[in-house]
């Protein structure tokens, strides 16, 4: 007697939304086992990793703070993913956005203008779009695979940040640390809730989710991209441009990632350093998938991912485990999600008698 998977007559809508929950449950079980293997109490580990980051007002605010860049990146990426545009370089686009927005702040150290912050966001969006335009152009003009080119540009962006903070943009009074000056107060995002660090970028991120929802579900352009992505031939037959899908998918992804970059340097960091993002651009891909490429899903998935980041910090502090444990959880989550997604199109059947 064997378990066998067989195709469902129709994809299951229920499983589409149950699958992420199943994946989270599997990840939690796997996490408890991992804690056990590492010689920690699974219950204690669970508390420290998953409950403590939600324990008090400050922690919940931190959760939203960390979810902000994830939301932004993920909503942009999901527009592309829907159109089968595999932009995996959001991390690089985030960094270039941070450089563009942060560069503006450094260039106007004495500006009192209320438009400085909006201008920084604009610059960040443009920076991210510029970085995303490179793989878009190489793909549409030269047919070069955007997965590899967008990823290579992440390394280039990291080196660019490193060069700027070690070289031309280094704080002259900074005791030779590889970082820029602190931004002036007009270039720092206002805090939303007194006593916490959650800032106005959250509003930008929520706005992006709303705009993203409208674009994906209520606009003809969004519909075209979805058709091109899911059924390339149908899209071509209907006269939807495949090039436009690539360009839009990449540029929207880059724009949002660039905004996320500004939200970090003008938010919790307040300057440009070598450590702007702990892999938000990569984690956002998982957020987009877990959130089913839908803004509402992305909202919750980004909070979950923020929880994994904070859980990692907690585990480091209280359990003495390396911070990278949160990356292990991220990878597990995506694996479990991909595995659970099988049940959208297939179901399990007991296969008796036959070999």
């Amino acid at each position: 007697m064997w378990l066998r998977i067989e195709p469902r007559p129709e994809p299951s809508r229920l499983m589409r939304y149950l699958s992420p929950l199943l994946a989270v449950a599997l990840m939690l079980i796997c996490g408890m086992v991992l804690f056990k293997v590492l010689g920690k109490s699974p219950v204690e580990g669970f508390k420290v990793f998953f409950l403590q980051p939600m324990a008090d007002r400050y922690s919940v605010a931190e959760l939203f703070l960390k979810a902000t860049p994830l939301m932004l990146c993920a909503v942009g990426l999901s527009v592309g993913f829907r159109g089968n545009v595999w932009n995996i370089g959001a991390e690089g686009q985030l960094l270039v956005g941070a450089l563009a927005g942060g560069g503006l702040a450094l260039h106007f150290p004495n500006s009192q203008s209320p438009f400085l912050l909006p201008a920084m966001f604009m610059a960040g969006a443009l920076g991210g779009m510029l970085w995303a335009a490179i793989p878009a152009w190489l793909r549409t003009r030269f047919n070069a695979n955007e997965i590899l080119t967008s990823l290579m540009l992440v390394y280039v962006a990291e080196l660019m940040v490193s060069w700027l903070v070690h070289g031309p943009w280094k704080d002259p009074d900074g005791f030779n640390f590889p970082q820029t000056r602190m931004f002036q107060s007009k270039a720092i995002l206002p805090v939303l809730v007194e006593g916490t660090r959650v800032n106005a970028a959250l509003v930008v991120a929520l706005g992006a989710l709303v705009v993203g929802w409208i674009f994906m579900n209520r606009s003809f352009l969004g519909y075209q991209m979805k058709v091109s992505g899911q059924a390339e031939r149908a899209g071509r037959y209907a006269g939807f441009s495949a090039r436009r899908t690539v360009w839009l998918g990449m540029l929207i992804g880059g724009c949002c990632a660039g905004l996320a970059g500004v939200s970090e340097v003008a938010g919790p960091i307040g300057q440009i350093t070598e450590h702007i993002s702990p892999g938000y651009g990569f984690a956002a891909m998982i957020v987009a998938f877990v959130g089913r490429l839908e803004p509402v899903g992305i909202f919750f998935a980004s909070l979950l991912m923020a929880l994994l980041y904070m859980g990692g910090e907690q585990a480091q502090q209280y359990l003495g485990l390396p911070y990278s444990i949160s990356k292990v959880f991220q990878g597990l989550l995506l694996f479990f999600l991909l595995g659970s997604d099988v049940f959208i199109h297939f179901r399990l059947r007991l296969d008796r008698g036959r070999k």
Binding site: I134, N145, T149, L153, V156, M160, W163, V328, F335, V342
Partner: protein
């Protein structure tokens, strides 16, 4: 340039190119069977840390390399389970493997970060290593360098001169036909993916046990991704992998080249470090711009799932 410098630059190029050859060859065989595994970066990372840890504990680099190989195979089985058995999207599964592998290696490798291995003496080939300039560069290398050459020939021979190589390519071109004449497509794809995992694991092991020899988080630094690009650059032909690997190997050691050349160039280190990544982009563009080259050479069913019963 002095002959000594030429020899040193060539030597370093070969060393830098070796992990790329190993990983790209494995990926090439995987892709020839129709499976696109984007997880090479993760596999190399896990292979590197497994090899390093085992070498530290046993003192035997050979056991270390074996551990890297086994770890790489385990990773590819994980990928196979999701992408082949459960038929998840191969691109997403590969990304998952990369994210998971890089994270796992960082996690497991933390206690080993401050430790170093003794460097392993090279394997000198008698007579050949006496050739001026080239002898040192080519024949005073680590054993794995020679292994990479042997594997290169072996893979070329296997794919194009053996019956099972033909079957593997058939599975990559038209799995339906291969299935119809009685070959187990999934099993063959699993085996091809495992070969790819083993090779990427060895590639990672070469980095941590022979090249550096130490473990630092993120030390694979995109070499897995570059290897993927290398397969495209080689238009899925084994012997061209070598050319590409040494090209990228050369790009990786430009820093040494510039310093040694005595030219007083004031180039920031980051610019030189960015070269291999930029070179990858340029090379991809040059190869891909001719659409028919890609279409004619890439396995026809690359990345497509196959369902035996459907």
């Amino acid at each position: 340039m002095a002959p000594g410098l030429v020899s040193a630059v060539l030597f370093a190029t070969v060393v830098a190119g070796t992990p790329l050859i190993l990983t790209a060859l494995g990926e090439l065989v995987t892709e020839k069977s129709g499976v696109l595994n984007l997880g090479a970066e993760g596999i190399m990372s896990v292979g590197a840390v497994a090899a390093f840890a085992v070498t530290i504990h046993t003192g035997s680099p050979l056991l270390g390399v074996l551990a890297g190989m086994v770890a790489g195979m385990a990773m590819s089985v994980l990928f196979g389970f999701v992408a082949l058995t459960l038929q998840a999207n191969q691109v997403a599964s590969g990304l998952a493997l990369s994210i998971f592998g890089v994270g796992l290696s960082a996690f497991v490798g933390k206690p080993y970060e401050s430790q170093t291995l003794e460097s392993v003496p090279p394997l000198k080939i008698p007579l050949l290593s006496k050739i001026p300039v080239l002898g040192h560069a080519l024949f005073e290398q680590q054993a794995l360098v020679y292994v990479s050459w042997i594997m290169l020939l072996a893979v070329a021979w296997f794919l194009y001169r053996t019956r099972w190589g033909l079957v593997l390519r058939a599975v990559g071109e038209t799995p339906v036909a291969a299935h119809a004449i009685g070959y187990n497509v999934l099993r063959i794809r699993y085996l091809a993916a495992m070969f790819g995992g083993a090779m990427a694991g060895i590639g990672g092991a070469f980095l941590s046990v022979f090249y550096t020899p130490l473990w630092v988080e993120g030390m694979v630094a995109g070499r897995g991704w570059i290897s993927l690009a290398l397969v495209v650059f080689a238009t899925w032909r084994p012997l061209r992998v070598m050319l590409g690997a040494y090209l990228f190997g050369g790009a990786m050691i430009t820093q040494m080249f510039v310093q040694g050349s005595g030219l007083r160039l004031d180039i920031p280190a980051q610019f030189l470090s960015a070269l291999p990544y930029l070179a990858t982009v340029v090379v991809l563009v040059l190869i891909s711009r001719n659409r028919s080259t890609i279409r004619l050479n890439s396995p026809a069913s690359l990345g497509q799932p196959f369902m035996p019963d459907a």
